[in-house]
């Protein structure tokens, strides 16, 4: 049978059942709207959380008087350690300069008291996953039987991180990540269920018709195609409406504020074009699949 026939049937179905079709369309639109607002928020939040987590580092202090060769050896050793993302060398002088910059007042008066620079040369080690910090420390300076850390190389004076900070950052950011991921999953589930349910209602109203069609010898797909086309249409229209509203909201409210709020300009936020594309696709897929699946029950005659 030509596509034209199914299309005509779908249009007939929509115009004859405009109330449930409209309800389905509005449901699709609202859920897409909520998702469209929520997805960037989730992404900005996790992006910020990840940025904070990147601040977790391990400091490897180099023994005073170690030779250039020993340092090079140490650097390669650190780079070869598992879970290490990058290594940065900070010399005594650089360290002092940074400290002075951070707290100029303290250096104004007490600079002479220090005499010579007390800071050691340092390797700053960034882990590929902040959760692996403890593992890296263990590898560079394993504990001996008494629980005292023994550096694995002669050039290492001490290996440490800012323990309290690390623990806080890790627990807070992982909580944020879990919460937003949970919310996102719930929201997506609710959206699919809601759209599927509304489509169900609109088809349920026509189940007798489906029965009759089967009794006069229509094949399942002959009955199903018009319903799937209806689903595609409803999903598309609902999605387009949602995308329109999202665009308007973005242009009028979000864009003017972008430079003032870091969260809005978070680098990892999804591209707007990609977002609306995905939303439209999801609307169409859920709506048409919902139609086809709901029909299954009534097709078993």
């Amino acid at each position: 049978m030509p596509f034209g026939f199914f299309l005509k049937e779908a249009i007939r179905g929509l115009s004859r059942n405009s109330a449930p079709a409209l309800a389905a369309l509005l449901t699709v639109m609202l859920t897409a709207l909520v998702l469209g607002v929520f997805i960037p928020i989730v992404q900005a939040t996790t992006g910020t959380a990840n940025e904070v987590r990147d601040r977790v580092v391990v400091n490897v202090y180099v023994k005073d008087g170690s030779t250039e060769a020993e340092r090079t050896e140490l650097r390669t050793a650190i780079e070869r350690t598992a879970n290490v993302k990058s290594v940065e060398f900070i010399s005594k002088d650089e360290g002092l300069a940074t400290a002075r910059e951070k707290n100029p007042a303290a250096f104004e008066e007490g600079a002479e008291l220090l005499g010579e620079n007390p800071l050691p040369d340092t390797f700053r080690v960034v882990p590929d996953d902040p959760g692996e910090v403890a593992g890296i420390i263990d590898r560079l300076a394993p504990k001996d039987a008494d629980g005292v850390r023994v550096p694995s190389l002669a050039a290492i004076d001490e290996v440490r991180n800012k323990e309290e900070d690390t623990a806080k950052i890790l627990s807070a950011t992982s909580l944020v990540k879990i919460l937003t991921a949970g919310l996102a999953a719930l929201l997506i589930f609710a959206s699919v269920a809601l759209v599927a349910n509304t489509t169900r209602l609109s088809i349920f109203a026509r189940r007798r018709e489906v029965e009759v069609m089967k009794l006069v010898g229509a094949t399942n797909w002959f009955i199903r195609w018009p319903f799937v086309i209806e689903g595609v249409f409803v999903g598309f229209m609902g999605g387009v409406l949602a995308v329109l509203l999202l665009t308007i909201a973005k242009e009028t409210f979000i864009d003017p504020l972008e430079d003032r709020f870091a969260l809005l300009a978070a680098p990892e936020t999804i591209d707007f074009g990609l977002l609306i594309g995905l939303l439209l696709l999801a609307c169409i897929a859920v709506s048409s699949a919902g139609s086809a699946l709901t029909l299954r029950r009534f097709l078993r005659v």
Partner: protein
């Protein structure tokens, strides 16, 4: 080869009630058969088994020599296209005009549009509805709706026509018109099975009668009556017995 053959067919529903109980019969090409019996005797079950709307619990059903048990679900539509069905409640598509209702069963089999445009008005003229082509079912009387449903069932010229209480919702005069229509279809060579408890109709038409009681075939006679042949006296005796009245008109 018989058009319809039942071999020891039983249908027991999930709840345990009996639809058919070891029913066997053969219906030949071009026959006109009444399926009679009280409500719940298995008439509708038999009709629904023939369209494979239900599957039998035991036994074989053959249509044109093919066992229905061997028909895969995907081939059921093909089976139904060769069987016209008429129901007590018409089962028309409410959102379609008379024309579209009849056209649907041709669209289903992929009939070219030009043929549909020719065949649908033809069959609607045959059933006497040529003036109501563009009315919707709820704008028609019961008799007219049943005519549409007969037109839909017969527009493909199927070799077998099943009717489940086709006059069940209609007044006697309208019923006669419907039966005449079904009879005319039978005269074109189509095998017709009509389930009914319309005794007047059965008695008038004098066709083959298969009587069911509690799922069993208890009678099968050519040119039979709704009730087994009995003289007026016998009938009077039975009536008295059923009413609990003695031969002299006094209560027992």
């Amino acid at each position: 080869m018989p058009v319809v053959e039942l071999r020891e067919v039983s249908k027991i529903y999930d709840g345990g009630s009996v639809g058919l109980d070891r029913a066997s019969t053969r219906i030949g090409r071009g026959e006109f058969v009444f399926l009679v019996g009280p409500t719940g005797c298995g008439k509708s079950t038999a009709i629904r088994l023939l369209t494979k709307e239900l599957d039998p619990s035991a036994g074989d059903i053959l249509i044109a020599g093919k066992k229905l048990g061997d028909v895969s679900p995907s081939k059921v539509p093909l089976l139904r296209r060769n069987i016209g069905t008429v129901f007590q409640d018409y089962k028309l598509l409410p959102n379609r005009t008379v024309y579209d209702n009849v056209a649907y069963s041709l669209q289903v089999i992929g009939e070219p549009r030009t043929d549909i445009r020719r065949k649908v008005p033809d069959i609607l003229r045959l059933v006497g509805l040529s003036t109501k082509l563009h009315n919707f079912p709820d704008e028609l009387s019961g008799g007219e709706q049943q005519r549409v449903s007969i037109a839909r069932a017969f527009v493909n010229h199927p070799p077998l026509l099943l009717a489940d209480e086709p006059t069940g919702n209609l007044d006697p005069e309208t019923s006669i018109g419907i039966m005449q229509l079904i009879y005319r279809i039978n005269r074109t060579g189509t095998t017709v099975v009509v389930a009914t408890h319309d005794n007047e109709m059965v008695d008038k038409m004098r066709r083959r009668v298969i009587e069911l009681r509690e799922g069993r075939i208890v009678r099968d006679e050519l040119s039979g009556l709704y009730r087994p042949d009995e003289s007026t006296t016998e009938f009077a005796v039975r009536l008295r017995g059923e009413l609990g009245v003695g031969p002299e008109g006094h209560p027992n």
